[in-house]
């Protein structure tokens, strides 16, 4: 059965408490949140299987630190959506603001529209699929996981990148320090195929280019000092 909570009738604290308790109960319950009106910290800290649909646009840190839950935003998401996500799936039907999926450790962040700057900043294992474009400084210091972009990437993609994999179908305005284009090997095609399928993206893995770390900044070398 589906439960509905209205943000104009119920306080954020009560909505989050209800959702957090329902997730903890491991009952695979379904919730619909109406009238989010750009509120912050909605459906954050969920720790268990739960299906939450938010009917509208959200503010900062929606679905922050999510574990196992499935959160869908039927609108756009503000800064830091699904930040530090551990597992589960977060879907944004519209656009995502800056820092989408920041420091995420796991799970899938599926953005149907565009993501703005710093998408996947410092990501640590999360998979992010953006159906549109991403803004500047995306995947800055990204450590682990996969960032898939069907559209174009802005300036300084993957600056100071560690071991995260970046796949971009469109153009890249510029690459950040220590980020280079890399060969697309069969194992990458496999990873990408699976992610595109999971995200319901209409694209072929072969259309993408892969970017990764040149690993020149991994240990200090005086001849690379200008990259710092």
């Amino acid at each position: 059965m589906t439960n509905t909570l209205d943000m104009t009738q119920t306080e954020l604290r009560d909505i989050n408490s209800t959702l957090q308790a329902a997730a903890k109960a491991q009952a695979n319950a379904e919730y619909i949140i109406t009238n989010p009106r750009g509120s912050h910290a909605m459906a954050c800290g969920l720790d268990g299987p739960l299906d939450v649909t938010i009917q509208g646009s959200t503010g900062y840190y929606c679905a922050g630190m999510n574990k196992e839950a499935t959160v869908t935003v039927k609108g756009s998401a503000g800064p830091g959506v699904a930040e530090n996500m551990m597992s589960g799936t977060v879907t944004i039907e519209g656009d995502a603001s800056q820092y989408a999926g920041a420091t995420g450790h796991g799970g899938l962040l599926n953005i149907k529209g565009n993501a703005s700057s710093r998408c996947g900043i410092s990501m640590k294992g999360i998979d992010i699929v953006v159906h549109g474009n991403i803004g500047h400084m995306s995947a800055f210091m990204a450590q682990k996981g996969n960032l898939v972009v069907l559209g174009n990437a802005g300036d300084a993609l993957g600056d100071s990148l560690y071991e995260a994999r970046l796949f971009v179908r469109g153009t890249v305005k510029s690459l950040g320090a220590d980020c280079i284009e890399k060969e697309m090997r069969p194992e990458h095609i496999e990873i990408l195929k699976e992610l595109l399928e999971k995200a319901g993206a209409d694209a072929k893995p072969e259309e993408f280019k892969r970017y990764g770390s040149a690993r020149k900044l991994y240990n200090f070398n005086i001849d690379h000092a200008d990259e710092y």
């Binding site: 750009g38 756009s76 500047h136």
Partner: protein, 295 residues
């Protein structure tokens, strides 16, 4: 550190609703700036120049002010006083003398221009809005600001918007890191600021560039090179408003456009009550890119 809102109406029939729409937007930004709030509203032009002044003792300061001013500048003067603020309308050309007289009387000049009026005070945005009846104000466009003071005092003069030339004003979210140096550079040119606030330096920089012959667009482009630090600026002019973010662009900014209006805010929340927002085009301004809307 702050919240910014801006609204530019495309249709004249919406003009009476400007204050109402802008007030709701302003109040949603209270968390970002609980210290003070302000609004610049571009309303009806009367053929004269409107000078907005502020006083902590309005009862005495505004009594007979129009008559006293009239005696000095030799022309018709009207006064509209609302709480701590008064808008004096003087004939074009007599504005300089009027401002000198008003400053001499110890009144604080908020701004002047053919259409711009500025209202700002310390306190929560909802209280500031109520004090000035912002909801009742009509106009073509307006910008508003809620302030969380960083390095200068919480005072009326430290509140935004800052106006440093006729019909021009600026609000800012962020923190400039070379404003002291720029203040000295501007002072050498004879451009002076009235507060210790970093944003006022930004406003003075833009006005000074325009006075030197730059277009608004060129002046905003100039901020990218000449001002250091983090900023999202919204600047108002008689005909519209402009937006620019620094190249790092960490401070939030979101815009919405419909057939009826262009809106700006620090957060999407501020748009929640705007008519037709669900169908609006909503996007974030790119870093180091100048945008403006003019009628």
């Amino acid at each position: 550190m702050c919240g910014i809102v801006g609204l530019f109406l495309k249709k004249d029939e919406l003009r009476p609703k400007l204050g109402d729409m802008l007030t709701d937007m302003l109040i949603t930004m209270t968390d970002r700036g609980p210290d003070s709030a302000g609004i610049a509203i571009y309303g009806d032009e009367t053929g004269g120049i409107k000078i907005t002044v502020q006083s902590d003792t309005p009862e005495t300061a505004f009594a007979d002010l129009d008559a006293d001013l009239c005696a000095v500048i030799d022309g018709p003067v009207t006064i509209k006083s609302i709480s701590t603020h008064a808008v004096l309308t003087v004939p074009a050309g007599s504005e300089k003398a009027a401002i000198a007289f008003l400053e001499d009387k110890g009144l604080r000049i908020m701004g002047s221009g053919e259409s711009m009026e500025i209202y700002k005070e310390i306190g929560l945005p909802k209280d500031v809005a109520a004090r000035f009846n912002l909801r009742e104000m009509g106009g073509s466009h307006g910008i508003g600001h809620t302030r969380m003071a960083t390095e200068s005092a919480v005072t009326t003069m430290g509140a935004h918007p800052f106006s440093t030339a006729d019909d021009q004003c600026l609000v800012h979210n962020g923190s400039l890191s070379n404003h002291n140096q720029m203040r000295r550079v501007l002072a050498k040119k004879g451009v002076f600021t009235r507060s210790e606030n970093d944003t006022e330096v930004g406003a003075a920089y833009i006005s000074s560039r325009i006075a030197d012959g730059a277009t608004l667009g060129e002046a905003l482009e100039g901020t990218l090179k000449d001002l250091d630090g983090f900023f999202t600026f919204v600047t108002g002019t008689k005909n519209g408003f402009g937006v620019v973010r620094d190249p790092i662009a960490c401070k939030p900014a979101v815009m919405a456009e419909t057939d009826d209006y262009v809106a700006f805010a620090s957060e999407y929340r501020a748009f929640a009550d705007l008519p037709g927002i669900d169908a609006a085009r909503v996007w974030e301004p790119e870093p180091a890119t100048v945008y403006f809307w003019e009628r």
